[in-house]
């Protein structure tokens, strides 16, 4: 039984069916990536799983630890162990970096050890702890968004285009951090435009067309499709 199981998920906005019949699973300690063009429905899928969409828009079944969660309130879902780092990061710009982190720890009340280990992972945040988070650079804000999500002690992380707007050097750091989290046993669903890099980390990759998966790839196929979809170049 997989940790997170999405079965036949559908998302509607009014008369528009943004997602149709999407199914995938994510286990502890693996990275599953979703790639696809703009408007394919990637964000809608992550938002649906995290509880950010009204339940009336949703159809299908999502199970976490075999418990149905689709349509639950977002605060309940994060308490269960699924954290979303949303599109656009959505850090609280008027709050300090420290306050943003403290909010991340809401589900468990926040232990000092958790905070120390997160600040060790992202030392820049310790340095800027008292600054308004809105003053951080884009890359620093992304670190804050990730750190904030980790403080909830998630078992599954949903990452929506975490590399957006980051310099190539920083993107490398970010992907290393994501690989580390996977190695620590967190299940990760990763939506990425940097498809090659994302696929390189992934144990499974789902390619989306408009609203549905058009291809699913496992293990070594993932590397193969990089060539098929993104030209013959070797992975960077």
């Amino acid at each position: 039984m997989p940790l997170l199981e999405v079965r036949d998920l559908g998302v509607r906005y009014g008369s528009v069916a943004a997602v149709r019949g999407v199914s995938f699973t994510c286990d502890a300690g693996e990275i599953v990536t979703l790639v696809g063009p703009n408007g394919a429905g990637k964000t809608s899928i992550l938002n649906a799983v995290a509880g950010a969409l009204e339940s009336a828009r949703l159809t299908g079944d999502v199970r976490f630890d075999d418990v149905p969660i689709l349509g639950d309130a977002p605060e309940r879902i994060v308490h269960r162990g699924i954290s979303l780092v949303p599109e656009g990061r959505r850090i609280f710009t008027t709050l300090t970096v420290g306050e943003n982190l403290r909010l991340g720890a809401t589900p468990h009340g926040g232990s000092a050890e958790d905070m120390v280990s997160v600040l060790e992972r992202f030392p820049i945040l310790a340095e800027f702890r008292r600054r308004p988070a809105g003053l951080l650079s884009g890359g620093q804000q992304q670190q804050l968004a990730l750190a904030r999500a980790l403080l909830a002690r998630p078992r599954v992380l949903l990452l929506d285009e975490p590399s957006l707007g980051l310099a190539p050097q920083v993107v490398g750091d970010l992907f290393r951090a994501i690989a580390d989290l996977r190695d620590e046993g967190i299940g990760i669903v990763l939506v990425e435009q940097h498809a090659r890099r994302a696929m390189k980390l992934a144990s499974r990759c789902h390619v989306m067309g408009h609203g549905t998966f058009v291809q699913g790839l496992e293990g070594s196929d993932v590397a193969e499709v990089v060539g098929a979809y993104f030209g013959g170049d070797a992975l960077p």
Binding site: A50, P74, E75, V78, R89, R90, F92, T94, L103, T106
Partner: protein
Amino acid sequence: MSDVAQHLVNAASLGSLYALLALGIAVIFGVGRILNFAHGQLITVSAYVLLVVSGLPWPLVVVLTLLTGVVLALAMERFAFRHVRRADPATTLIVGFAVAALIQEILVLSVGARSKTVDFATSTTLPVDIAGISIPRLDLVTMGVTAVLLIGLTLLLTRTTVGIQLRAASEDFGMARLLGVRSTRIVATAFAISGLLAGTAAVLLTAKSGTLAPEMGTPAVLIGFFATVIGGMGSLPGAAVGGFVLGVVTVLMQVLLPDGLLPYRESLLFTCVIAMLLFRPQGILPAATAGQRV
């Protein structure tokens, strides 16, 4: 010279009162995006409870009045606004009107439409002499209470977990929920704070005027709305500043306008508010939310 000092004290005192009215409205607007028109009725009902219990020792009277504000605010949230949480702003505004009208009618039916006098804290209208200026004690009390509430609110919002959650929810409610902030609890907390502020305003207003009437909350809530608009919708520091500015401008008009124009004082004030909406719709200290969502 002492005249000027007197006017300054007046302005600061009225500004303090208006700041309390504005904060009561802003704290709910910030978190719930609800313009609670029934805030005025929180004040009115609290004031009538004060009238009923005014024979008791004054600390008890104050506690019971504040408690009324808090309990009634929580009831409004639970039985009215919670059911329209996902509705658009127009719907919640209409719910606010309905709640206000309902309470107003119940009040008129139960206590009558005529105003009543209250014998509460009458000694506070006596002046004390400070540095040659005679200041009504109530003005000092009003300023002191406002200062304490502002400091208390600031500490709550910056030092406590629930305060940080309130500020986060004001900036991005959906994200706060995604981090585990319980939406019903946080909205109820905002209503409780608003009720506490309404109860405080009820105590100060009744002590000031010595009379109550079922419609006393309506001008109070209008002033609160205007002050939040001036200060910047959704921003708590903005609301406090907006209230002060409105109080100061009101006193200035009283002092400076020629007698012939005095009757138009309110219209002039409202014109200022409209001008403000036209030329600086974001207010003096705007909230940070607008345009932040990527």
